[in-house]
């Protein structure tokens, strides 16, 4: 049976690592595009954002910790039974097909409704994607959601199995034992001879919560798939937003709680002592199982429509969210005291887990900022949030995963880790480059930079560009990990420390050279290439737009008007110019900003051609100012 669990876990880890690499490349391409390095088309950027978000979240981090859950349960005496194994295999296929469908519907079929696919945006594609893209995307998310449910069933079936040593045969009593109730009520939730291992508790908690969290979303997804083809079917957008976050919050802990199980299992082994935990830690997990499904509205603190109970719900979620920090606070206490003054040896695995705990602490504290309504009003929907969750995802969850891979590699592959020195380099560089990459986001967020913008307002450009070398370095550092693991799996001869360090140094030098060439090429390219029309035009027209707001401008010369009539009038209505074209939108109704006109005229739109070659930048600026100040007059 140990061999079955071994192969199963390996299968999960390999699939999730491939998804990590794909999602990482997408992330680098998007961040570079924001910094004007290889600017993507708008639809492409948002389609990549959709794929990257779901891919990295579910397909990498979720999938990887799901796999390690089976291995850790096996190692503490909980074997997968027939039903659990069946569900575990089904989970793998559902996840792989689901993530595959998400990639196809976004990258190939242009679905770009964002990875939270906020109802009803999938049905308002602005001409960018069709019904089938929507249907395939939603069905794929449904499959990925179902894979979470089957994983939960597999975990529940395993934790109530004979490994539990519970006295009672009642299934609910056994679930209580698996959640650690025996630490609090030893008579009612009796075990013989030993209490349930701590690692089992967070896995049981999340398996129960994710069933509760996922089923309503599955119903919403089915509704949305029906609505794709039958537009008269409809649900309340506010209800849908709540249902999304009813799932969206606990799914964050689908990553964290199994990662906690990884910490609970490996950290005591490395410290060579038992987990330093009082019975009080069981209280934390009782809080967790309840609070986890009652904090969803902290994601929508700034939605409180008149005549609804949303403001009250949101307010109640602040103290509940605060309560949910207690499992983290107590776990960190236990884990740090387990390490404190212990036999801790600094290997690749132990460094990953230690720095993972550091990130759990620091990223958890930025989460407290988000959870506080009075602070959230400033950071909501800004890059601060993006910085927070990447910090948490890569440098906490990711480090638990990397640590587990390095720690379990010999047992899972049957071969010694190729190079521990290389593993340490990988972890430290990922930590440093990650902190800089994500920290810059948090600074931009505090300066008000919006998240989910393909093109950020110009004032944020310099920090976006400052991040580029670090983001690229962060991505290339992962090659140290890939090389190390591939060599391990190939069974390459274990290298002495000096040789491995030299090898790592060589790889790093190659990485540095690549970055250097890239940066030099970027600056050469930027200085010699013709000015990018989109961003530049938009920023130059801000001033005329500003001065003309609220009053009919007198500076618009007859020449600009004539140019408008000639170039735009056949398609667009603008009363001030006396045109009445009906091919494109009526500009008197649309009242676009100058920046928007400039962007549209420069790049073209759905059916509108680009005027980049026909009009000079000065003419585009003049027309933009003219339209924005005369529309609706």
């Amino acid at each position: 049976m140990r061999d079955t669990a071994r192969r199963l876990t390996l299968q999960y880890v390999v699939a999730s690592t491939i998804i990590l690499l794909a999602a990482g490349v997408m992330g680098v391409i998007m961040r570079d595009s924001q910094a004007n390095v290889g600017r993507l088309g708008t639809n492409t950027w948002y389609a990549l954002m959709t794929a990257h978000g779901l891919g990295a979240f579910l397909g990498w981090a979720g999938f990887a910790v799901m796999g390690f859950a089976f291995w850790i349960l096996q190692e503490v005496g909980f074997e997968l039974r027939r039903f659990g194994l069946l569900m575990a295999r089904l989970t793998w296929w559902l996840m792989v097909v689901g993530v595959g469908g998400i990639l196809v519907s976004t990258i190939v079929m242009h679905f770009a409704g964002s990875w939270v696919f906020l109802y009803p945006i999938p049905f308002h594609s602005a001409g960018q994607w069709g019904k089938w893209a929507t249907a395939i995307f939603l069905s794929s998310v449904l499959l990925a959601g179902l894979s979470i449910v089957t994983w939960c069933l597999s975990i529940v079936d395993t934790v109530i199995g004979p490994g539990l040593h519970a006295v009672s045969t009642n299934i609910f009593n056994r679930l209580g034992v698996a959640m650690g109730f025996g630490y609090l009520w030893p008579k009612r939730f009796a075990t013989n001879p030993e209490q349930v291992p701590y690692v089992v508790i967070p896995l049981t908690v999340i398996a129960i919560d994710m069933v509760i969290a996922t089923l309503p979303l599955a119903v919403l997804l089915v509704e949305m798939i029906i609505e794709t083809f039958a537009p008269s079917v409809h649900v309340s957008a506010l209800l849908a937003k709540n249902v999304l976050w009813w799932f969206g919050h606990p799914v964050v802990y689908l990553l964290l709680f199994p990662a906690v199980a990884i910490y609970y299992y490996i950290v005591p082994k490395l410290a060579n002592r038992k987990l330093v935990a009082g019975n009080v830690i069981a209280i934390a997990w009782v809080i967790a199982v309840i609070a986890n499904v009652l904090v969803f509205a902290h994601h929508i603190y700034l939605d409180y429509p008149a005549g609804t109970a949303q403001a009250t719900i949101n307010t109640a979620m602040q103290p509940i969210t605060f309560a949910l920090t207690i499992p983290s606070a107590l776990s960190l206490y236990s884990l740090f005291f387990t390490i404190y003054r212990s036999d801790w040896k600094w290997t690749g695995a132990s460094t990953a887990l230690f720095l993972g705990l550091v990130s759990w602490l620091t990223a958890g504290l930025s989460g407290v900022v988000n959870a506080t309504i009075a602070f959230d009003v400033v950071v909501h929907n800004t890059l601060w949030v993006v910085g927070h969750f990447h910090h948490m995802a890569l440098l906490n969850i990711g480090f638990a995963i990397f640590g587990a891979i390095y720690y379990f590699a010999p047992e899972l592959t049957g071969k010694a880790l190729y190079s521990d020195a290389m593993a340490k380099w990988h972890i430290w560089l990922t930590f440093v480059f990650g902190l800089i990459s994500f920290g810059l986001w948090m600074v931009q967020g505090l300066e008000g930079a919006p998240r989910r913008y393909a093109v950020l307002p110009h004032r944020y450009l310099s920090l976006s560009q400052a991040a580029v070398p670090f983001v690229i370095a962060l991505a290339l550092t992962q090659l140290l990990f890939v090389y190390n693991i591939v060599q391990t799996m190939r069974g390459a001869e274990k290298k002495p420390r000096a040789v491995a360090t030299a090898e790592a140094m060589f790889l790093l030098a190659a990485i540095a050279a690549a970055i250097g060439v890239g940066v030099i090429g970027f600056f050469l390219g930027r200085d010699t290439a013709p000015k990018k029309s989109g961003g530049t035009a938009a920023s130059t027209v801000t001033t005329p737009a500003a001065t003309s707001t609220g009053a009919t401008t007198t500076s618009a010369t007859d020449a600009t008007k004539a140019l408008f009539v000639q170039s735009c009038g056949t398609c667009h209505t603008l009363k001030a110019a006396g045109t009445s074209g009906a091919v494109g939108p009526n500009l008197d109704d649309l009242k676009p900003s100058a920046a928007r006109v400039a962007k549209q005229v420069t790049n073209g739109g759905k059916i509108m051609p680009s005027f980049k070659g026909t009009l000079t930048p000065a003419q585009i600026t003049a027309i933009s100012a003219y339209v924005s100040s005369n529309a609706g007059k």
Binding site: L118, D343, V358, V377, L446, L456
Partner: protein, 171 residues
């Protein structure tokens, strides 16, 4: 950076510095090992629980009175009706007075949007979400005259990042 953003930066900076102190001490303790009573440390976890609860209660009561809900504009408020659509804003008036509360009454014609307001220097002022089929209200008093820019802060599709408008605050 606005006032609250600066406060967050300072608050977060301080707690991170304390955290670094703690983790460095833990890391250093593995190199120069000393005696450690694991049983006592486990027992003391209860004290840590009470400390955490106390800190959270302080933060809760220090911040919960600054929530944006339930603000009313008063009788002399200026009312601006805002319609959000893919990808633009329709404002019932583009000029408001300073130091008089403005009540924004917001609707969406299609998908969810978010009404985000920045001053002319790009400093963030406030935001509120707009969910289709619901009316969202928000009250804000502009203290400084000048141009204010409106950006959409909830992802709404292709031209989300250029969904802009502006508002003039006059003395």
């Amino acid at each position: 950076m606005g006032g609250t953003a600066t406060l967050i930066a300072v608050f977060y900076g301080v707690v991170v510095l304390i955290s670094i102190g703690v983790v460095v001490a833990v890391a250093a303790s593995t190199i120069s090992r000393g005696p450690m009573d694991a049983v006592k440390a486990a027992h003391r976890e209860r004290n840590w629980l009470f400390i955490v609860i106390a800190l959270l209660v302080v933060l809760l009561f220090g911040t919960i009175f600054f929530i944006p809900y339930g603000k009313t504009a008063g009788r002399n408020a200026q009312v601006v009706h805002v319609t959000a659509f893919q990808f633009g804003w329709l404002l019932s008036q583009k000029t408001v007075r300073e130091n008089v509360p403005v009540e924004f009454v917001l609707h969406s014609q299609d998908v969810s949007h978010d009404f985000g307001v920045y001053n002319a220097k790009g400093v963030y002022q406030f935001q509120v979400g707009i969910v289709p089929d619901y009316t969202q209200k928000v009250v804000h008093t502009f203290k400084t005259p000048g141009r204010y820019d409106i950006l959409c802060l909830e992802y709404c599709g292709l031209d989300h990042d250029s969904m802009q408008a502006s508002l003039e605050v006059v003395p």
